[in-house]
Subunit: 675 residues, 2 copies
């Protein structure tokens, strides 16, 4: 519980040479040449949370900053960083394969994910070491990382020479004791984040980027996206069907057909399909359902928004539409004003198609008058749209949460989750685990399945990801589309709803401490598993995949209990489990108190019930955090929140105030002991 | 026969605005910004054949040069060229898939071929249009081409807008009427080559690059590479085995084990495996067999060459060896002197491993003191090594021919053929057809087969490619390794040997007229087939692939005969053929006279026999070219050659002198009529 353990300490004692400056507590920066503006933190308008950084424990680097090579050559800026023989390296973007990045080359570019480790939805140039530090390249140009590979002729230490003619140990890629990273640009801002642990280094990164995104509470419920050409009536019918069948529903997402035209779009309501947007939104709002609108940023020439933007577009079209130059302040405001005027009552957006390479978007050489070329703009376009939409909602003092298909560094504070056109379940879970190493959130949405088993297993994973979403854009699948597993699917969705108070608290830790809600094993204890992860401080999830009847789970240090039964299952060991289809492998650290909604149906109802069931695992005295605020405004940023430590004893719960102006919880507690 | 038809004409009449300059007859250049030196023609030290260019027919562009957009932006130089609705576009490097490049994006970079159209052994930034012109970007930086795709907001003509919500004709990649190409560099040299035909535009390109490579005659025979760790005695035994079994052999290639060490290497003879290199070479030379040495350019630190090169290496190692900075004049000379001193009597080299991306070679940001960064140096490293080796042989007035795994534009005159670690037979034939659009030569070598049928079909293709090579580096395969097809394989090899006079003449046309010896259908008549091609003026090859018992062949205009029988098989039509395993689908244009060796055994014996059998097809009066020179020196460049037109009538051959100081052929003719 980082929230409690934070201790104010002076920054690291030794002063490295003048190349390096401590820009925030425990965060060092060196500048090579002149940075190609905007940097990533510029693009995301990230404001570091200095006080929270100052409250962190002090870390120590395993190398001297003076030993880091910083070089500007004709076309490149390069950094050369020592790498200990036993260090494990993790991160380098929203990766969908593996966790170990120790020996490899990574060309980090925004793209829709296809294969490999290079073209990613979120290519955050950030890696973290098991030795308890992280390195972040604060540049919006594409980056190249050579991790433990690629020896320089002048490197002090190099592996032994071998003769391929005769030596069977000859290595076709000799290892190196360095990470080298480069950018084709006039300069580069290199940021080194100290620990003491790898998790602490990631926390520092997130706090540098403004702290993690704090969603409105409704965003943690269940999302459903209706088919592209659905009418208002179709959508209302569908919402009623959820209610009738007893499936929870918190957010409905509308797909391209809500607009008069799409690809490129108008960003205006189709009068044909949505004759009365305001009435439509009110009807859903009355049921406690929020509406999210799909859009891509490309504007059709004959539309109102196109006229308003004047000449503030990039040089190249996307599907023949203009790409607004939203780094330009006027264009940014025009887009904000248009959204504000045209979509009152909408809770947020799904920003599509900001992740194509030049196959879908503009070429590298495209020009944007605000400064960046096309290559650079592709790296940050998703970030710029997230930021401008967040800013619009901030001015309304209303929290938003949305989806986006590309992001980058500097964006931890932006309230959007990433989704993808890929659909490999195992890769989706890997993406969950790597998203936290990229300073982002992943939505392991479900869309379709080829069997009831797959439908259940995917739904269970979706319900244990930051955003739990069914995206029926293409084929109109419903939660009940596989009737034989209706109850099992509903159980997963209701489990999700019940966990909202716990998840909301985990997000508060993300916002205040930088600790990500989804925690990969690499940050928990240096593990390389990509098929299990922790949610918040106390839960361990180990999703099942279609066709599997058993799997292994590695339990970290401490005792672990089954979530549902409380049964103790092991400690610091690998176990093999054989869960039935209706069982979700979800475990709780013994001694944890997990706050849940007592009667989960939807978030709106959960909030209004003001009833929290605290699940206490394995011991008489359990503890856990509970965060509370108004669930929807930015008032928490001014102190209007309460963070409490819950302490259970038999059937009692004691809530100790830790922080915030709310000194007592507004809710009723009940305890269930599972020991 | 371009050789005859050349007419001196004035260059195109209209003077475009000052951006464009006619640098050679029918070749226009525009300079955007300042070119990032060296250009490709600089790297290859190409000297244009101005007189031959002046002798070409005049071409006309389908667009005005003034309508070409030339732009320098912050980081890129871009050219924007009109594209007619009906134009077919071919080229863009040594492609292994398809011929049609009309709608696509190409990022041309040197790499070992894996898949796609981007990373190529030879990424020559050159395309040719069916409208009879070509465009060449004379830059050694990686290039990006957007062909018929990617509309600018300010383009005058764009396709109609469509609404994806409702219009089924909505196009996810709307076509454009432009080719846009760019380079991330301070400038770009754009070269437009006129026709009149697409073939003429390619001829102009090759003549701009110094004319095609003229191999020594021995290089057109049969090559065999021995296993990596073979000793001198092993190699001699193998050569004897060829002789004993009656298989022709002209060149033996030695693989890494000839060196004291490899990967990185010493470039010195292993005393252990080759105790007496000079005696070894003499023994082979006495049999008329040349020796080719494998090497990669990377130098092991503890070696003599490493010492001699001093600090003239790139910043990064390759397999821990130094990468000589051979753009530096002193380094280039050091490498040349070392080769000259250490390997007297060797006929040429196989330059391996110059095609890796940063996975095998150095990173983009590597530094070479001669100027280029690693990104640029990877694009030209193969070219630089080819050129320095050619230059060394030129100074000895001895022709060489070798193999190389990467090349680029500006290299048509360099006597090397490309090979690859890939091994898809169909891709190999596609590469044959595309090599001529990249100004290079392809070696469709054989290495192994999983059946006698495959062995035969691959051998037949290999024997109809610029270099006919069996590369037994890895597993020691011999031509006779599949005993049931021994005679069929031998037939293919002897057919190859018999064709050497015809092939040699085709190469002379390449050197003097720029007309490539292997002619893709795209250049012959705009066809898009990649599984058939012409060899020289008169032969049409249509290789068979394993598992096929029949195929279609498209016969271009004119009548066509079977090569072996002379049987007329059709004209200007598609035919379906069902060749037996021992039949090579090879056709001859009726009216052609094909000069062949009468008693093919090996090139050395063919030369000494001075006996040419002229194969006359389809008509009483047939004609064809015959080129003659000393077969081994550069004296032909000073006029010591003879180009003759052969004219047959019944059993007589008349040879009319066309060019060169040799006015009568030195050989005996016989005619065989196949009509």
């Amino acid at each position: 519980m980082h929230f409690l353990l934070g201790v104010v300490m002076a920054s690291a004692g030794k002063e490295p040479k003048s190349d390096w400056k401590e820009i925030q507590p425990g965060i060092w920066r060196a500048q090579i040449g002149s940075a190609d503006k905007p940097t990533l933190t510029d693009a995301g308008r990230a404001v570091a949370k200095s006080e929270r950084l100052a409250a962190m424990p002090q870390g120590k680097l395993p190398f001297s900053l003076d030993s880091v090579g910083l070089k500007k050559s004709k076309n490149f800026a390069t950094v050369h960083i020592p790498l200990g023989k036993d260090e494990k390296i993790f991160g380098l973007g929203l990766q969908m394969k593996g966790a170990d990045r120790r020996k490899g080359i990574y060309h980090l570019r925004v793209d829709h994910y296809d294969q490999g480790n290079d073209r990613l939805h979120v290519p955050t140039p950030l890696y973290v070491s098991s030795a308890g530090y992280a390195v972040f390249l604060n540049t919006s140009r594409p980056t190249n990382f050579y991790v433990g590979i690629g020896n320089r002729l002048d490197d002090q230490s190099r592996p032994p020479f071998r003769d391929r003619n005769t030596d069977r140990k000859w290595d076709d890629q000799p290892p190196s004791d360095w990470v080298e990273a480069s950018v084709e640009a006039p300069g580069l801002e290199v940021i080194v984040l100290t620990g003491p642990t790898a998790m602490d280094a990631i926390r520092r990164y997130n706090l540098l980027c403004g702290g993690g995104a704090m969603p409105p509470m409704w965003a943690l419920g269940f999302w459903h996206r209706t088919p592209s050409l659905a009418t208002a009536q179709n959508v209302l019918d569908e919402a009623n069907e959820f209610e009738k069948r007893g499936f929870p529903l918190d957010v409905i997402g509308l797909e391209p057909g809500w607009q008069t035209r799409s690809y490129p779009g108008s960003m205006e309501w189709s009068k044909e399909r949505f004759p009365d947007p305001s009435g439509f939104l009110t009807k859903l709002s009355d049921k406690g359902i929020k509406v999210n609108l799909w859009e891509n940023p490309y504007v059709a020439p004959e539309t109102d928004l196109f006229q308003k933007l004047g000449n503030k577009f990039g040089s190249h079209t996307v599907w023949l539409g203009g790409a607004p130059d939203v780094l330009d302040k006027k264009a940014r405001k025009t887009v904000q004003d248009f959204h504000k005027a045209k979509h009152p009552g909408v809770s947020g957006y799904k920003i599509d198609e900001v992740d194509g390479f030049d196959v879908w978007l503009w070429p590298d050489h495209a020009e944007f008058k605000s400064g960046p070329d096309g290559l650079q703009m592709r790296q940050i376009y998703g970030v710029l749209w997230q930021e401008l939409l967040l800013d619009m909602y901030k001015k309304k003092n209303e929290r938003t949460f949305g989806l986006v298909r590309a992001s980058n560094g500097g964006a931890s504070h932006l309230p959007f989750a990433i989704y993808s056109d890929t659909y490999d379940h195992r890769q989706y879970v890997t993406a969950l685990t790597s998203s936290s190493l990229a300073g982002t959130l992943w939505c392991a949405e479900i869309r379709s399945a080829s069997s009831p088993e797959e439908w259940v297993r995917r739904m269970q994973s979706a319900c244990l990801s930051p955003i739990a979403q069914l995206n029926a854009w293409a084929d109109g699948t419903k939660p009940w589309s596989f009737p034989t597993v209706n109850e099992t699917v509903k159980e997963a969705m209701l489990l999700r709803e019940s966990l909202v108070p716990y998840l909301y608290t985990a997000f508060a830790q993300y916002a205040m401490d930088g600790t990500p809600p989804i925690r990969p094993m690499s940050l928990v204890d240096g593990g390389t598993e990509t098929d299990q992860y922790m949610i918040g401080d106390s839960l361990l999830a180990a999703p099942m995949f279609t066709g599997e009847t058993s799997r292994t789970v590695r339990l970290p240090k401490g005792q672990w209990c089954e979530y549902t039964t409380g049964k103790l299952i092991g400690e610091n060991q690998k176990i093999t489990i054989k869960p039935d289809l209706n069982q979700i492998p979800l475990y709780v650290k013994a001694g944890s108190a997990i706050p849940t909604f007592k009667n989960p149906t939807s978030v709106a109802k959960g909030i209004s019930s003001k009833a929290i069931l605290v699940r206490a695992y394995g011991r008489l005295a359990c503890s856990g955090l509970l965060y509370e605020d108004d669930g929807r405004s930015f008032n928490h940023e001014k102190g209007d929140f309460g963070m409490f430590q819950l302490q259970t004893s038999d059937r009692e719960v004691e809530a100790t105030h830790l922080a915030g102006s709310r000194t007592t919880p507004s809710i009723q507690f009940e305890v269930i002991r599972l020991d």
